[in-house]
Assembly symmetry: C2
Homo-oligomer: 337 residues x 2
DNA sequence: CTGAAAGCGCTAACAA
DNA sequence: TTGTTAGCGCTTTCAG
């Protein structure tokens, strides 16, 4: 492999000039630049990342901690990762992938100066990684909200607003008895705050709009979904609007409703909280509040990059939810008259 | 951050001794080792990755090129990535994630010595990345089979054997008219060889077992799946066994069959080629040939690690398919008598 | 506008 | 069993 000295030699300049041509950190005359570039081209020169990191204290790599366990949210995670990776490239950064549970990985990449910054997905209320990352010398942004973000930056969908929005939509279309089919019990137990935030929004808007909200936890399996639907219809037969916040269960919820002869869109309004493509991949195009995973990933990278140079103060960004009406929700019973 | 010299100083030894304690590349006396370890602990010392890479020409990072486009195979990809990341950790390596289409990323990480090795997913028959990676100084393993693997190592499920296995299973349970509901047309156009290999196996075994096989390409959308089912039943009404090799379409295929009053498992045997968890997440537990994505990822890492030190010759490993009988397939018509 | 030279923090001969 | 020392390839003062 050619080194910077090789390039310097064949261009007839000093190594530092080559370096400055590459970094643009000082003005270079046209002819000199041209000769250097020709030499680089000719030799197929690539700066050695390790040497660069050593000399400049910059790796041009960010770490991404993602929950790689198999499960419900796989599409969301993938979209998020995609957003992070593509946006990182816009800043000339690559992405080092860590699994959520590799807590020691945090220390490794951080202390070993393997990365310039960190993005951590799927933050739980009382997440053990939060204190670790707060102590790191690299900036970090969390996706999700921990109990105490003490000086850390966070991004997420504004789930509370999403909850309000969903209820407002159903209320506006005449529904007075609505229900949430939500996350699996284990998610709730883990205190991933988004579920709680959604419910808070749901409840506050329910009160404001004078509708009742029943909440049903729901396993993502076919049987879990069927059970949730059956329980709901048994205990709250007046329900005319359902909010589903569980991608894995969504198709099965719809199947179950179909099996029971309930026509989604006419007999029952259904609003999903999920990525757009998931909403569109159902048997009926779903009215949905988009979970803009890729956007969130992009924003996370933007935030972390901002913090790379200047020491911006920490901030929390909650993206405003957007509801798109599709065939699964139509004016409800009270609006019929 | 503490450096190796700091550690050496507080342990009262030389830097090289610290280095050797860490690497284990030469014997160290008990007491010395103890003092060094104490110093490391006390200072919270972490070797600087860049410095290490520069001095040793090892980064302890491997690159993984994965197709991050959204689509059908998301669960498979995630499982695969998980396999790679966790196995890499067993070899003290981290994973740098590149997107499939970032072809220049290959050059960047390779030429810049950012990684020790490469794993590339989803290789197509005439993949433009193959010559690039063949020219790299780092070893690589491909997941999938290119047209010409010229000296490169590959892993994949043995799809040809899987095709044979599926047909053999259906034939053995009495079916004589079977069909494949396969990948979307665009996948076939991309010449991802697995689809072709599966069909080859299907056809050869069909001939051997004296059964007919009809092939239906199938878009992964609900409507695409319905259409495939409808076309199939219209043009080949005698079909009693279906092989589905399209995870995204699978639930919709099953729904469509249900809608048409065809009972999967009794009226129609269905064999899926998909990950186990997908097979189990359907309305009926599916007889399936497992797509062991996580295993493949693990094997890919094993192979690439082997090639890191000694220059092992290149090899291609095709994992033997395993069929698990579940409720979606039962003895067919001919076996009834 | 360009060069010379001093490190960045580590590894691995070479010496003892 | 341990220490000394010469780089690894780059960035960035400092000088001109």
């Amino acid at each position: 492999m050619a080194t910077i000295d090789d390039v310097a030699k064949t261009a007839g300049v000093s190594a530092s000039t080559v370096s400055y041509v590459l970094s643009g950190k000082r003005p270079i005359s046209g002819p000199t630049r041209a000769r250097v570039e020709r030499a680089i081209e000719k030799l197929g020169y690539r700066p050695h990342a390790g040497a660069r990191a050593l000399a400049s204290a910059r790796t041009n790599v960010i770490a991404l901690m993602a929950p790689l366990r198999v499960g419900v949210n796989v599409p969301v995670i993938m979209q998020f990762v995609t957003g992070v990776v593509t946006r990182a490239r816009d800043f000339e950064h690559d992405v080092l992938l860590l699994t959520q549970d590799d807590v020691s990985g945090l220390d490794r990449v951080t202390g070993g100066s393997m990365v310039d910054a960190l993005v951590m997905m799927d933050i739980e209320a009382d997440d053990p990684r939060v204190p670790l990352v707060a102590a790191a010398k690299q900036p970090a942004v969390l996706v999700g909200l921990p109990e105490d973000p003490e000086g850390l930056s966070c991004v997420d969908l504004d789930f509370e607003a999403a909850g309000r929005l969903a209820v407002r939509h159903l209320a506006a279309t005449g529904h007075t008895d609505v229900a949430l089919i939500g996350s699996p019990p284990e998610v709730l137990r883990r205190h991933t705050s988004y579920a709680e935030r959604l419910m808070r929004g749901l409840r506050s808007q329910a009160q404001a709009s004078d509708v009742t909200v029943r909440v049903e936890a729901c396993d993502s399996s076919p049987s879990g979904a069927s059970q949730a639907v059956d329980t709901l219809l048994a205990t709250a037969p007046d329900t005319t609007g359902i909010i589903v916040h569980n991608e894995g269960a969504l198709p099965h919820v719809l199947s179950r409703l179909a099996e029971r002869g309930i026509a989604v869109g006419t007999d029952m309004a259904v609003v999903a909280v999920c990525p757009k493509d998931v909403a569109l991949a159902q048997r009926i195009p779903m009215t949905s509040i988009d979970l803009p995973a890729e956007d969130i990933g992009r924003v996370a990278v933007d935030m972390v990059m901002t913090r790379l140079d200047g020491d911006q103060p920490s901030e929390t960004r909650l993206l405003a939810p957007v509801l798109t009406e599709r065939e699964s929700s139509t004016p409800g019973p009270a609006a019929d008259g």
